[in-house]
Subunit: 343 residues, 2 copies
């Protein structure tokens, strides 16, 4: 049967009429309810196909009282870091039938409003890092919307997933000390993010254990350019080792050193954090984080909370906290140990 192109999406009423049944039957047939005969189902499916019918999600959501969608809020997607988290989140959410809404705050001033609006569109929300203040988190949590915080300091009553910073930063420091480095610099702003704070704390603690005085952190944005800029000052009289809050900063230092013909690790050791793909090719010693898993776990936790809420089954599970392990990845930039295997 020839069809003319439709300029407007068709509704369940049209499908019902075409199939010669009621809208209730269409609804049932299309959602594989076992309250319809195979015959009816086929008839309805045929009509729906002819009309290229796709149920309007707003109608369905309103009736069901759920959105079948989750949201994730992150500062940006420029580095590969957040992209990985989002991907893991999307994958796990899709696996349980949820769509995913993303929101990049870009440090916008109206981020709070955007997150609030997002909260009205989803059944659960993951909030990463320093995107909005604790007040916003508390407000949203107060509405009962399932929430999970990612790579961010906990807020009472809200689930949180983080990655291990202090301990691994300690290991990294020990490793650098093992290379004989004694003069350290730290590039990054502990006040800007709890992750950075944890990394600095771990470094400082390890140095103190060895009787060394930790350097004051050199405040620095988390991107390549900031790293390069910050390195300019630092490299006029390079320390033994520059511990960077993340890979992008370290890569920026790498570029600055290259430009000045300062050799890494001969003249100065450099380390990063995140294990980006670029780190491998810059031979950067760094710390690998399970970013994908961060997203996956967040989506699973949310799914569970959403289920709990829908079931209205008494008190929900206690607040959950998890710290995912991270792993030191030794490459050349921290100093050369003949005994070490570089990959």
């Amino acid at each position: 049967m020839e069809m003319k192109a439709l300029s407007k999406a068709s509704t369940i009423y049209e499908v019902a009429q075409r199939a010669g049944v009621s809208i209730a039957t269409v609804s049932r047939a299309l959602r594989d309810s076992d309250l319809v005969t195979a015959d009816t189902r086929a008839k309805v499916r045929a009509a729906a196909a002819e009309l290229r019918f796709t149920p309007n999600r707003s109608g369905r959501s309103l009736a069901e009282g759920r959105h079948a969608a989750n949201g994730i809020v992150f500062p940006d997607l420029v580095g590969p870091y957040y992209a990985e988290v989002v991907l893991g989140y999307e994958e796990a959410a899709a696996a349980v039938g949820s769509s995913v809404l993303i929101l990049a705050t870009h440090g916008r001033a109206d981020a709070a409003a955007a997150v609030q609006e997002l909260a009205g569109r989803v059944d659960g929300l993951a909030i990463m890092g320093q995107t909005v203040g604790d007040d916003v988190v508390r407000d949203i949590a107060a509405t009962g919307l399932p929430l999970v915080l990612l790579a961010r300091d906990p807020v009472p009553g809200v689930d949180t997933i983080r990655t291990r910073n202090e301990r691994t930063a300690g290991q990294l420091t020990e490793h650098l000390l093992g290379h004989g480095h004694r003069g350290f610099a730290f590039l990054g702003d502990p006040a800007g993010s709890p992750d950075v704070a944890g990394r600095y704390t771990g470094l400082a603690a390890a140095l103190r254990r060895h009787g060394l005085i930790p350097p004051a952190p050199v405040p620095c944005g988390l991107d390549l350019d900031s790293g390069e800029r910050a390195a300019r000052g630092l490299l006029t009289r390079p320390p033994d080792a520059v511990v960077c809050a993340n890979d992008e900063i370290a890569l920026g230092v790498h570029l600055a050193a290259e430009r000045r013909r300062i050799h890494i690790p001969g003249d100065v050791a450099v380390t990063g954090w995140d294990d980006l793909m670029a780190a491998r090719f810059a031979h950067l010693t760094t710390v690998a984080q399970p970013m994908r898993e961060l997203g996956t776990v967040a989506a699973r936790w949310l799914h569970r909370r959403i289920g709990e809420r829908a079931a209205r089954t008494g008190r929900p599970t206690a607040v959950r906290r998890r710290v995912l392990p991270t792993q030191l990845v030794v490459r050349r930039s921290c100093g050369t140990h003949p005994s070490e295997v570089h990959r």
Copy 2:
């Protein structure tokens, strides 16, 4: 005034009651209609704030007949490539008040169903690369939903944005020929994506112009591992130059060469495509694409089409096609020219 935590999102009715007005007035006040006095507006705002009221989007969407959300479909987010596009898209969409829904198909078999379902949630949809077949695109287009295809062969009646492949691949080839390379290999599957096909075509055409016989392409996935695997066979007897369909493949070749102590570019020249961050640190000659812009333009076009549709203003604008320029980025991996500036 003290408030107890709410376990359920409040509705416009509760706000209306608290403010002592009708729901119509609440609706108006909250959306800054000038049909309410400043006094009333203040009263309503206060009530809404106390109740932590966020309008339910399903209700609003249903009433307005629009979702205020756009979707974007991509195969994956693993490489930094798609992440950039998505980011550009999100940014531009957010700027015009649209939320963004993402869908990664991961080569899933039920991708078509997922895309169809997504189509029912959005006012416009961007579809990237080889995520779903043309039949799905045509079906969705037939419903009248504004659509834009990204990095993909056009479908009649649907807007398309691509990046330049053939011409720049020709420039790249000329450059390699200028280094004196004559024996070429191409890593990538032209049948797998129109982008790859264009790059291969550009290479082949340039070689023919110089009286050389183009090599048959070596089929290869677009990720690092595939590149490394494909390189293993190739590097037993390396050609002069290996032109890779993207950076990840080229970086895989880089790793394989490193392992075999084959020197780039001394023993073999290698080039990529995309200009990922890692390419810079691997000194990879490649081609930069305006990925962010791809997303931005897509979101803008969709916004325009959505406007046209809502206005029902006669015939819509003609189908649009755009090819965004790409740019050769020369680094060390293609061969050393003393005269060239490397960055």
